[in-house]
Symmetry: D2
Subunit: 468 residues, 4 copies
Amino acid sequence: MDIRTPGSEATTGRSLGESCGIVSLAESVPVGYRLIQSLRIIQHRGQESAGISINTGNHLRNYKGMGLVNEVFSGVKLERDNGLGIGHIRYSTAGSSTIENAQPLYSNIGKYEIAIGHNGEIVNALQLKKVLESKGYSFTTNSDTEVILKLLSIELSKTSDPVLSMKNTFKKLVGAYSLNIIINHRVFVARDPNGIRPLAVGTTEFGYCAASESVVFDQLNGKMLRDVRPGEIVELKKNEIDSFMYNDKAKTAHCMFEYVYFARPDSLLDSRSVFETRMELGRILARESPVEGADCVVAVPDSARTHAQGYAEESGIPLTEALIKNRYVDRTFIMPEQAGRESELDIKLNPIKQLIDGKRVVLIDDSIIRGNTTRKIVKMLRKHGAKEVHLRIACPPVRFPCYLGIDMKTKDQFIASNRTVEEINSKLGADSLRYISLQGLIEATHLGKDNLCLGCLTGRYPVSIPRK
Amino acid sequence: MDIRTPGSEATTGRSLGESCGIVSLAESVPVGYRLIQSLRIIQHRGQESAGISINTGNHLRNYKGMGLVNEVFSGVKLERDNGLGIGHIRYSTAGSSTIENAQPLYSNIGKYEIAIGHNGEIVNALQLKKVLESKGYSFTTNSDTEVILKLLSIELSKTSDPVLSMKNTFKKLVGAYSLNIIINHRVFVARDPNGIRPLAVGTTEFGYCAASESVVFDQLNGKMLRDVRPGEIVELKKNEIDSFMYNDKAKTAHCMFEYVYFARPDSLLDSRSVFETRMELGRILARESPVEGADCVVAVPDSARTHAQGYAEESGIPLTEALIKNRYVDRTFIMPEQAGRESELDIKLNPIKQLIDGKRVVLIDDSIIRGNTTRKIVKMLRKHGAKEVHLRIACPPVRFPCYLGIDMKTKDQFIASNRTVEEINSKLGADSLRYISLQGLIEATHLGKDNLCLGCLTGRYPVSIPRK
Amino acid sequence: MDIRTPGSEATTGRSLGESCGIVSLAESVPVGYRLIQSLRIIQHRGQESAGISINTGNHLRNYKGMGLVNEVFSGVKLERDNGLGIGHIRYSTAGSSTIENAQPLYSNIGKYEIAIGHNGEIVNALQLKKVLESKGYSFTTNSDTEVILKLLSIELSKTSDPVLSMKNTFKKLVGAYSLNIIINHRVFVARDPNGIRPLAVGTTEFGYCAASESVVFDQLNGKMLRDVRPGEIVELKKNEIDSFMYNDKAKTAHCMFEYVYFARPDSLLDSRSVFETRMELGRILARESPVEGADCVVAVPDSARTHAQGYAEESGIPLTEALIKNRYVDRTFIMPEQAGRESELDIKLNPIKQLIDGKRVVLIDDSIIRGNTTRKIVKMLRKHGAKEVHLRIACPPVRFPCYLGIDMKTKDQFIASNRTVEEINSKLGADSLRYISLQGLIEATHLGKDNLCLGCLTGRYPVSIPRK
Amino acid sequence: MDIRTPGSEATTGRSLGESCGIVSLAESVPVGYRLIQSLRIIQHRGQESAGISINTGNHLRNYKGMGLVNEVFSGVKLERDNGLGIGHIRYSTAGSSTIENAQPLYSNIGKYEIAIGHNGEIVNALQLKKVLESKGYSFTTNSDTEVILKLLSIELSKTSDPVLSMKNTFKKLVGAYSLNIIINHRVFVARDPNGIRPLAVGTTEFGYCAASESVVFDQLNGKMLRDVRPGEIVELKKNEIDSFMYNDKAKTAHCMFEYVYFARPDSLLDSRSVFETRMELGRILARESPVEGADCVVAVPDSARTHAQGYAEESGIPLTEALIKNRYVDRTFIMPEQAGRESELDIKLNPIKQLIDGKRVVLIDDSIIRGNTTRKIVKMLRKHGAKEVHLRIACPPVRFPCYLGIDMKTKDQFIASNRTVEEINSKLGADSLRYISLQGLIEATHLGKDNLCLGCLTGRYPVSIPRK
């Protein structure tokens, strides 16, 4: 799918939330470099900025910068820490890509130092901000995370009790949040009452860890213990974890898009394998929308590879790696203005002609957002001789904005927003276009309709979205 | 395969040749940025340095630097050129990674300016260098390409005839060379009499092109015309190409390793599809070395994916994407010395446990050089529950150095050099290990035994290798 | 003098204030680049970081970074502004040299955006901070400027009146502050009731300006109008300036060290020429502490040049430029650890032997803080043959910390703190050492004893210094 | 003087020579970092590039880069060397500022490795180059130094005798050259038969040194031994120096401009103090061209400070530091194109008004080349109230190109080239303009007319200049 299309103006005006990844550690060894390595494991969740906050014994020490983890931290010498720390990576969005918004965000108040990393989006952030401003609290960023940080600081100064402060703070928040928080010598993670964004806890070789995706535990020679519960705060200690529930009444609403596209296939999210879900999406899609007499199934690499495998398996149509992705062109390349505009897609993807030429191709993509890339791939396949191109999409049409942590903000950007499937295909130019059904998507996740956030598909969100 | 293992000390002492990629253009539009984009297409052939030489009307202008094309050229403003130019990317090798060795190499003599890019390796370079030195010719690098450049300059100053000068020069060279050469306003490419390294000519939207791999023509909206013949010089003009044969007696000896590993699967090399060859290698391997009762075929991503597809197709054992590659960890990351050494492989690859656990796995790799990575992957699969791991390798054991352009120089680095297959497997730790037969490899290429360079497998090279 | 000696650990723990420079503009043309150029004019007041905040029509836009103005802003494209902006440069101090402390500091509250630049130091900052923290206000830096910013934001949210908010805020502050503040479309400067740090307003070619030193007006083709009065707020508009007095009862206490060392000689501070003051210091020093039969007067370049000129003029002893300063060694040079430690001073200064050899030298320095550099210069002169070296210092012994904006914080760092002049000279190794008298210093400034801050000389400060 | 005025197009087309500085060391300790520190001492002789070549035991290792020494070498880890090495800094000229031209230049031939650094200019370089090219020798730069390197390499391959090879090579050269050369384990310096560019040998704490200026020996705790003789080769060994004369017939012709402007005042050049020469130039100028009733003497800082001191001393008119130079604006600052063009001079220099206002000023500059800066300074003084400005220049009018190592190449760039003094002053706008006489200049140097190169003043050069 094409969510990261260069030049995409996904957000207009000031953004208050993005997709991100978090990792927290409490270990008997210094964690600074281990946090950095762990962030590299989930780098796919955010490429705009990276940061860590570690406890050096006396103080929290923040390191952060713009870019990939290797760009920010390559060669950086960290102060030695005492085994407690949190890390964060932030997704690249148009507009407000500045170091001020890089996380963890930091503040100090009295004897407390606080750093916080946030994956998700607070839908009532502007309302909360206005209330705070009316009381004289000023802000230094336009991030919704600063609102959480400010509320938490105020509570801390009142109660001197970190857990109580978090509970009081979280009760005011509406929206999606998987948080990692370090307050002096204590490391916490928390998850919103709907469990919209993923978050899990696990062991490591030297202690405990919490992370957006379970793959992190593997790399640290540990094991996943469990998902953080919706409405739960977990404190990570070096020898144990403590649990504090602050809300257990909300209905779970896990983001379906994590399964469809965002998470790594080798992750388990809320006890469900991402890989298995994608295979199942492919199988269901094959049953719902077969292509009689097709010669081959082709995936849009790399994200739709598993879905295509499921489709091929179920349909019996052979899967071929007919689109070759250039591994090097993900990297930023700035062409001076005088240069002719070559298509970046032409450099990124190239078909193997003999696998396409004269063939009836089933092209599988995980999802379609804007449709620009999909249109170009269809055209590319035809140019290389494809007789027919049948598009099969493993996610129902995305028609509504996400307010809960995925950077899809305005309806204008969705090719599906005011179009029928027929109309969409007239833009994309395939011989046929079919999306998986909503029911099929739900079935594949094994989570049940009532436990999923399907807001971007249905316009019905698990929390009430304020008019801004 | 593990040729690029970090820390590999593949070459000892001074290296006189590496694998590389070249692109030349003669077009009715400026070619500077088009050369750069084309180099990105074949970036897999070399990541150490990148450079171009373009004709600005009066002079040749060289631009080069260390690193990937995007690192060297991102944001660089080029002088406007007149549609003539050559480009080069160089493979990273241990030891002599300096800007002086980045190509194209440049020289001027009288009214001539010359720039040259070289893919391959001249085996009699040291002998030629000594002769030149005895006549008072000095050198500024330890590159074999400078020897070619010096010989060509001397010939040019004698004959004032570019084509004759090249012919005279090439007759002295023994080894592998696909060259691109710009002499003032004339752009040439040439290929050694054995055709060891690939080189093809094609059209573009605006003129003619020559490139190491045919994928470049696709990106420039052109078509492959043909391979450059062994022993041929081709001059690229804006409206036509001219051919000059300087040696048509040699036996062709195309590098088998280009098909097995080095080239892109979507390239055609000497009229043979790389993709098809890899599929065929997999199929033959399946026939030669089946694994009865295996549960799944798993490829070492990304390079062995096609071979694995062939193996799966032939054997009927399902192919699964059980090893997930982290797309971001190819990038250089420098850990300060005080940091604990985490395994880069653990960050790079992660298995999907449920696809491995309790399974009898056929693990396909394209080739094994040192074996370090292979051993770790076998161990990783076992750790995630694999019941059995059967290694199947789509290239016979590499036991001899390559002197003709692939950076495999000393026997010590090869796990297979003095070991039986049994002994190799005792190092790798698989349940079984089988290599494809030499005959199977030859069959898969469709080129015939007599048209392949199999030096690294047999120790018999198409040209005589001087003792150094 | 040696205040900037590398390796100086002037401040221990967390610093809450440093010397700096500020410039504000309200003009009928965009001011972004003009602010940058103006900051270069007063670069001597701070080399650690540089920043500007400009009004782009809808919002304030901040640009800041670590290093010299040319390092931070070279090649930077600014958003177009509407003629309103402020700029700041910050002095390099040990310990807390981080981008978070770079100014202007920014915050937003309700409809207000505020940016603030500060030259000086708030002595009751910690007390004010504690009060704010007890009310739930958290901080993101350890800068005393953030305390001012926070107080001002709170007042603004209460009163919605920028001038009243500033008045209310300033009444709480004890210490030294010359401030520039931009609140949405309004640009203000203010000076503490004692006028400790300099600040002046002037015209420019296109409007009005305020700056730490009057040299800025020259460069902008304008004229100095007057000093900002102690206890005054001045609003800069494009066509006029408005004055608001918030405190006119305090006794003026201008920092004597600005005249002795810190300011540019071509500046006028509080109507008194820095150049004239330094000449006068030299003349008085010559009268108070003559050196009978000396051969030459030599200045420590560049800062003592004017003082030496005065001494030479008064004494009749010829002034010679016998110490040659290497113009390039101010720049940072990082020697790898394995390199031998060469003396940076040996590279920085070199005597002209024939001017020194066999001579009785009067060596003039503006002041002595730690004494390390002075000792080395005395030794250097002797090594080149000086028969006698008589040290004459144009500032009385510095024996007490500055809490009001100069980075001299702990008594340990002063060579004079617990020593008689005789004892000091036993460390410095001169044939004789004389300081100007306190009376002489006061006389030279023409300001009167009661209008000077002499805290670092007498330990008596113009404001009450809280025990920390 | 204004030789370095930004935007100066001093050289048109391809330059074959520039002013530079060299340092060579043979010591019992590693010299890499000591060479770097020594280059910083003579940084004023060249700011474009810096490089060293050191012997690591088996090989020469080159390090070079564009920019100041601190920019090129800050933080660079050098390989350990055996105490032998050479260093070079190159002056910034328009046009050919590329890394290829950075020195030392390197070549290898047979068993010899050679690196060479050059201060000066070979006037028959093009002729020599053509001869070499006709014999098949090609070039990789447009530097005249490469011609020397090539000739030397050829001789070495013939004779295997470094000293003989240098002698044979130097006999072919016409022009100015102070060279440092390392050939494997032997370090040499040489000076052209006219001794046009300076070069001296001295001791250090650990061995022997040769350098463009004697200040280097001071810094290395050594002493100047003597100037290298015109036509002499000196070999530096760790315990001794050897001398080889290859030409002792030529007439010495030391560059007068080194004394007037280029060298450091604390250097001794050919036994004559630069400082003393400049004082004397000022005194003679005062005698030749007094200004009756002037109020003050003002130097253009920093280069004319000594000349002004001499003028003041002789005339009895007081010297005042009325022009304040901003120490930070020498550094490169790139203003984006959209920014208004502020005068860099206005930022660089500022007068002290009270020293100028109503005064009759004698303004001393060391020399005038283009005159742009001088004109602006005159205007600046008038703007600040100067009643009269009388320009006195310590060098006769520069009217002819320098072909021997100073970057003044075309007559068009000289304000004096086709103008009388009266006409020049009508451009500069002073009340009067006087240059020192040629006789006065000669007298001040104490070297005698026949021992000076006065080519840029008289058009008569010590060597025959070929028509290009």
